[in-house]
Symmetry: C2
Subunit: 376 residues, 2 copies
């Protein structure tokens, strides 16, 4: 059950005071940001918690849209009495710049040409994603944030927030994330992008105007990425090597249950995501180098890093490295590895102890019952 | 330097005495097998060692083809004085049934129709691959084999050989292989096959006649699979996050060295491999269930299993499981895990101790200097 009840996605134009200048020097003259809020902004306007979504997420983090059966993607974490407690916090979640769920992105109309940006959309950094959302927070009249919370690419944004605005962010919760990708991380995304870029229906990037889309490439990209989001053990536990119809003869196309599952993941992704957004947001992750981008910044934010022992996308090693980099900048940082069988996707689920850790950090207290061995 | 010198690939028709009947009941009326031999068959005709190649290998395991600069794919292991010693053994390596390097496969001409088999080629089991090679050994007049040796899919064939012919195979060396795939193994191959099967240029499987090929899908399949063949550490050591041209602006297509490397792997694969063969041979691996296919067989073959600690395709767990299954059939089996930084591809390379283990097994002696802790 959803905790925050019925919600709607809102939109704000964040370029009212001028174009959004990107790290590359490029400018976007008109940027809209889709966002949702849960809970109430207090009179002091100092109880905001910003939720940052991951690669293919959206602004709908909690609650139910009118008539919908499924709550937002982080509904278990956000709500009255939940770890991100909407009785006390004013929660804001916005779709990413470059995304395809309401915020300006490569599939939006370029005001200069009247057609979709497509190949004309500028490359983004994670810094740019945060800059666009800073405009939203300014628009909402929020100066200081109690916390920024995110998982995966969302965690990378939370880190970037704290480095861009070291005085405005009290706490950051960075889950299953990284302060810089590995060769293997880039390799998997490179194959996903090659699948899209080299799909004949990419049409030199003009597919949006031609009424087609690189469905084949995007589907394969998602199927592959999905394997890296889950653990080998969870695939084994869920599907093993069971065939959908053991009595049927062997075949080359989908037969084993795990194959049907991946096909479903790939197909349903096509209904909700744009190939251009996939290219841009994965690429922003590849180039993420926050400490080089913010030399000398010594954030006063209190950081909590959480990793999952079965995560093979951003393993605990990523969090340990980030912890050391933050500590070297003089930051207060704690890291916990949570045991979970579900791999990278654990940040969306609820392995034992995970939500309790987030709650404790946001409450500003360490849970005395938490064993110190859980802290590395 | 190659040990066995200049070699040529030969071909044998193995259906002279009748069609090849497959496990499915289908028959192939005309089957040719491409093979190479190194060393000399002795007078007793009992010194043969069969080498089984992996998914995308071929018959050219050792030596140099006339005018070629690169020796066969397992040249380091096979030659005079090498672990598979051609001074003492008569070594035979043949291309797989269903392959595309000289042996009959889906890109061969169907004698019934005069056009490439394509979708008319029957599904194969690993048992069928071995059956075709048994015909070759019969053709060469070899009744007993001193050993069957293979890595990855090659190791699965070595296992199958020993179960099909429990009396004819003295020893088996099974490297980085498995007695049955996991959900994750199947998942990666399922994505690779989806990339091929759903490529518009697959043309319902008739691409061979139409002068096209599902290049996009096959390339993506190979790029993805390649990541799983190496270790995260070896990618990091080799490429890190270095960009090919650090002074150039960021871009969406290949920029990091690891991306160029994967692009090269994918492109060069297109020049040497056929999409249909990729579909068939990966699928034969998925369905491999050798102990169910050979109930009650108690092989007298002496088995050596070798796994590599960084292998994420067929981890040590696969070998441990296989060791236990073989032991339960009363077989003599030893297993060693070799430390190697290079992942699954280690079977093609030479991490310390690996070739020495193979040599010791083929010589029928245990190396007294080998620490027992290397044996699990």
């Amino acid at each position: 059950m959803s905790g925050v009840g019925t919600v709607t996605t809102q939109r704000a134009v964040v370029t009212g005071d001028g174009p959004l200048r990107l790290a590359s020097g490029a400018e976007l003259a008109h940027v809209e940001v889709a966002y949702e809020t849960y809970g109430r902004l207090n009179a002091a306007r100092d109880n905001a918690v910003v939720i940052c979504h991951a690669l293919t997420g959206d602004a709908h983090a909690a609650g139910l849209h009118e008539g919908a059966g499924r709550p937002g993607w982080w509904d278990g974490l956000i709500g009255p009495g939940r770890a991100v407690d909407t009785d006390r916090h004013f929660v804001v979640c916005a779709n990413l710049l470059g995304g395809c769920a309401g915020t300006t992105g490569p599939s939006s109309t370029d005001p200069e040409t009247g057609r979709p940006y497509g190949p004309d959309f500028p490359l983004l950094t994670i810094g740019d994603l945060v800059t666009a959302h800073r405009r939203l927070l300014d628009h909402l009249g929020i100066d200081r944030m109690r916390a920024v919370v995110g998982g995966s690419l969302g965690g990378m944004q939370a880190l970037e927030w704290a480095l861009q605005e070291p005085e405005r962010i009290e706490r950051a919760v960075i889950v299953a994330a990284s302060g810089g990708l590995t060769a293997e991380n880039i390799a998997f995304s490179a194959v996903a992008r090659a699948a899209i870029l080299e799909d004949p229906d990419f049409r030199g990037g003009r597919y949006l105007e031609q009424g087609v889309s690189p469905r084949h490439g995007l589907k394969v990209a998602r199927m592959m990425a999905h394997i890296t989001y889950v653990s080998a053990r969870s695939l084994e536990d869920k599907f093993g090597v069971r065939r959908a119809d053991p009595a049927a003869p062997p075949r080359l196309d989908a037969d084993f249950e795990v194959e049907h599952y991946l096909q479903h993941q790939g197909e349903s992704f096509l209904r909700r995501f744009d190939a251009w957004s996939y290219l841009h947001l994965t690429r922003a992750m590849d180039y993420f180098d926050p400490f080089a981008a913010h030399p000398g910044v010594r954030p006063t934010t209190r950081f909590q890093l959480i990793s999952f022992d079965s995560d093979r996308r951003f393993s605990t090693e990523h969090s340990v490295r980030l912890r050391d980099e933050l500590a070297a900048r003089g930051a207060t940082v704690e890291h916990a590895e949570v045991a979970s069988p579900w791999g990278h996707d654990s940040f969306l689920l609820r392995p034992p102890g995970y939500h309790e850790l987030v709650r404790a950090h946001l409450d500003g207290v360490l849970d005395p019952a938490r064993p110190t061995s859980a802290l590395t």
